[in-house]
């Protein structure tokens, strides 16, 4: 088993970590929603109308370009609303659960690819290049599976896996049949995994060591013209479960973390469950909180009236503004103004003490001035700053040459946090990838 040591990156220690791995169950959700934006690359075409009844695992919509790609209902119930935003963009599909236990059963004698596309698990996977839902018909060179999450306050994926762990073997077997190469699984130091047939690599180092793209770049980088699939170990186990039982389970373990949470803990709930149910009695102060579905780096800001978003395993709640009208914050000598740079005094206290961080940007957007900030946060053989500049200037050739096929927006999340110039790097990378994808198709 190979070990890869990554030096670049940084572990942000925030207040509100989980201290006890016990699971608590939330009640039955009042509503459940599927948010199409969670599955980038899919243009939804509805199969169900408002008021129709669905059972768990039944398709709600399919992709406009590849009709075989289905996105399914996580629960049985009635489609209450197809909520649309500007230009009829579908914001969410809301289902009122009826408590029924029916789940679509798949015929496992069909080709694995078809079963996977029908099951709704397909959209839980991503492909490089472009960081989108994989295109059917393109056989991936390899599959990269990350078995841990190193993001701030991230859940322990072993806890999220729970008893689905038994299906890992089957999942690897299925994926091995779908790729022309290997299934690579990245684990953290000290983690153990029983996955015969997979190439297991240990990654030692700070975040973003758990990003599948970072793991791929440090094992077998993606070249132009190649496609690889990425996913987390939970999705792999769900695939294993599907091909063992014929059914997809839509229950999930979600970590509720962050400073504004009374008692950070794991809960079991359903994919896409409404946050009013999931966060009932959990928050200290709803008004001044920012609820994030996901982690503070890559998650989505959601309202308490909305739903748990993919990958359905993490909620972080931080203060929106913990120090309004901070007087001359740039001159602060207090170690409480957290910075990974030694221009502030946090480093004297140590950067491992958990800190409170709010969502303020703490500075204006500027041109890139300081050198090496992005590279220090990106453990890949890529000149991050030059790539970002190529994307901003729309230079397609340069983007390709500098390795845009290897990256996803999440790989630049930590650099975006650390950026003195406060550029929206994830948005820039996403726009670059989308642009390139449009150009290439």
């Amino acid at each position: 088993m190979a070990t890869v040591r990554l030096k670049k990156g940084f572990d942000i220690h925030l207040l509100g970590a989980i201290s006890d791995n016990a699971l608590a169950a939330t009640g039955q959700p009042q509503s459940v929603a599927v948010v199409p934006d969670d599955f980038h690359g899919i243009i939804p075409r509805m199969e169900k109308k408002e008021g129709e009844h669905v059972i768990a695992g039944e398709p709600l919509y399919h992709d406009k370009n590849y009709e075989a790609i289905k996105v399914v209902a996580p629960v049985s119930g009635t489609v209450k609303e197809v909520r649309r935003g500007e230009r009829r963009h579908i914001d969410a599909i809301v289902i009122i659960p009826d408590g029924g236990a029916d789940t679509v059963a798949h015929d496992l004698k069909r080709p694995a690819l078809d079963v996977l596309l029908d099951s709704g698990l397909w959209v839980m996977m991503r492909q490089r290049p472009y960081d989108v839902v994989p295109v059917p018909g393109v056989k991936p060179r390899d599959v990269f599976v990350t078995a841990f999450d190193s993001a701030p306050l991230a859940p322990d994926l072993d806890v999220v896996l729970g008893d689905k762990r038994q299906y890992i073997k089957k999942g690897v077997e299925v994926l091995n049949g779908l790729t022309s190469g290997k299934v690579y699984i990245g684990i953290r130091d000290g983690q153990s995994i029983d996955a015969p047939g997979a190439e297991v690599t240990t990654f030692v180092g700070p975040h973003p060591a758990s990003n599948a793209g970072v793991q791929a770049a440090n094992t077998k980088p993606v070249n132009k013209g190649e496609t690889v699939w990425t996913m987390d170990i939970v999705t792999l186990a769900r695939i294993g479960e599907l091909f063992t039982t014929g059914k997809v389970s839509h229950d999930t373990v979600t970590a509720i973390t962050g400073e504004m949470v009374q008692q950070p803990r794991y809960v079991t709930t359903v994919m896409g469950a409404d946050l009013e149910t999931v966060l009932k009695h959990e928050l200290t102060n709803v008004v001044q909180s920012r609820i994030i579905s996901g982690n503070v780096l890559t998650g989505m800001k959601v309202e308490a009236s909305q739903w748990l978003r993919a990958p359905y395993r993490h909620i972080t709640v931080i203060p929106e503004i913990n120090k309004p009208d901070e007087f001359m914050g740039w001159a602060a000598l207090s170690p409480n103004r957290f910075s990974i740079y030694r221009t502030f005094t946090t480093w004297l206290r140590g950067l491992k003490t958990p800190v409170s961080m709010d969502s303020r940007i703490k500075g204006g957007e500027r041109a890139i001035v300081r050198t090496g900030e992005y590279d220090a946060m990106l453990p890949m053989d890529i000149y991050g700053e030059f790539l970002i500049k190529a994307i901003i200037s729309g230079d397609i050739d340069k983007m390709e040459q500098l390795g845009i096929y290897e990256i996803a927006p999440e790989d630049f999340a930590l650099a975006e946090f650390a950026d003195t110039s406060k550029l929206e790097l994830q948005r820039i990378v996403r726009e670059g990838l989308d642009r390139l994808r449009a150009e290439m198709s």
Binding site: N223, I321, K362, T371, D381, L402, G403, D419, L425
Partner: protein, 405 residues
């Protein structure tokens, strides 16, 4: 703070479009973000941000420049009282004299530069950028103290407009703005930039100091003396007493205000390196390159080039070498940005600075020209370094294709 906040809130509407003072909107925004960290929260991407911003970064550099600035003021006074034969004057009087002598330069530098920045920000409806905070203090430190204020004003305006704003402002410039200011002065008014009259202020400052200059006075800097010397160079202070390397280390020599004291500069260097604001790769490689080149020219001494007889350590202690290495070469915007590139960039600055200094009798000091020259080459160096990454990636893809084909 509450009262101040309320006051700012009260005056805000008149600065917004439609208000009486809407032409000063960016000035208001500049003041507001200076006083209060904006309450703006992230709406895309990451939800938390590091506390560091451009204001803090630039202020850190200004803090690092303070030792050199304070000593520079003191040294102006020291040189002045030495020249008028009152070397026994108290250090505070000397400092006060220097302070009074330098204050107008600082005011002119910031006034002209920030004025242009404000106007430019207003025209583009952008926030005021912090880059000039550093440039504005660098200029008084590298311009000879006897430069007329109007020259400094013209040069600053030229540099800010033509070396920075037309390229897009802070972060977009190719050449170091403070050095362009100096280069403009150097080429536009050469007689005021070197020789006996440039570096030691002899007249009074706001009524302070002044007096009859002693007969033995000569205002040339040590490097100026070396350049014009015949045979083995000896260096003296402004009243003809011999000086040693230690005087240069401490800074009791004539020169531009910021450049004389190596110790003050090194304190600044330590601040820059501990805070990580300046690249240690550039800083160290400038010194390595300079030392190597100085050793080389010293190994081949020649009477035609008297500076070649200086021993390498003295070379680095004199003139603007150390100041340039610590504060100018490390400007991240105009320097090389790749790790490998920074070593090359720094090394070549050191080499060229000594090369120009020794073998070009027209320029006793080569640091300014060396840095400006390498500013021009920095993008090329980076291009070569990045190209190797591109080639590596292309080769990886090619190997793969060959295997398949």
């Amino acid at each position: 703070m509450k009262a101040l906040r309320n006051f700012m809130n009260k005056i805000e509407p008149s600065f917004r479009p439609g208000g009486k003072l809407s032409k000063l909107e960016s000035v208001y925004d500049g003041m507001e973000t200076f006083l209060f960290t904006p309450n703006a929260t992230s709406h895309s991407g990451v939800h938390i941000h590091d506390g560091n911003d451009m204001k803090r970064t630039m202020i850190t550099v200004v803090v690092a420049l303070l030792p050199a600035l304070l000593f520079g003021m003191y040294n102006i006074g020291y040189q002045h009282y030495l020249a008028i034969g009152h070397a026994d004057t108290g250090w505070f009087t000397m400092f006060l004299y220097g302070l009074l002598a330098m204050l107008p330069v600082i005011v002119v530098s910031y006034g002209v530069g920030l004025g242009i920045e404000f106007i430019s920000a207003q025209i583009h409806h952008k926030e005021i950028q912090e880059g000039f905070l550093v440039t504005g203090i660098l200029i008084p430190l590298i311009v000879p103290i006897n430069t007329p204020l109007w020259m400094t004003a013209v040069a600053t305006a030229f540099a800010v407009i033509f070396a920075k704003e037309i390229f897009g402002g802070t972060g977009m410039n190719i050449f170091n703005v403070a050095l362009i200011t100096r280069a403009f002065l150097f080429f536009a008014y050469p007689s005021r930039m070197s020789g006996d009259e440039a570096f030691v202020k002899l007249d009074s400052a706001f009524g302070m100091g002044g007096g009859t200059v002693v007969d033995t006075f000569t205002g040339a800097t040590p490097l100026g003396q070396v350049a014009t010397s015949v045979g083995d160079p000896t260096m003296t202070n402004i009243v003809g007493e011999p000086i040693s390397c230690m005087d240069a280390l401490l800074g009791y020599i004539p020169g531009s205000p910021g450049e004389t004291s190596i110790i003050a500069i090194l304190i600044g260097a330590v601040i820059l390196l501990i805070t990580g604001v300046a690249s240690w790769r550039i800083m160290c490689s400038v010194f390595v390159g300079g030392l190597g080149m100085a050793a080389l020219v010293n190994a081949l001494p020649s009477a035609t080039y008297p500076a070649s007889m200086l021993d390498p350590m003295t070379q680095l202690c004199l003139g603007g070498f150390a100041f340039g290495a610590v504060f100018m070469a490390t400007d991240p915007v105009t320097g090389a940005r790749t790790t490998v590139g920074q070593y090359i960039y720094g090394l070549l600055i050191g080499v060229f600075a000594i090369l120009i200094r020794v073998y070009n009798s027209g320029y006793p000091e080569g640091m300014m020209l060396a840095i400006l020259l390498m500013n021009a080459f920095a993008p090329l160096i980076d291009h070569c370094v990045v190209s190797s990454n591109i080639k590596r990636r292309a080769r990886r893809a090619a190997i793969k294709e060959n295997k398949e084909g």
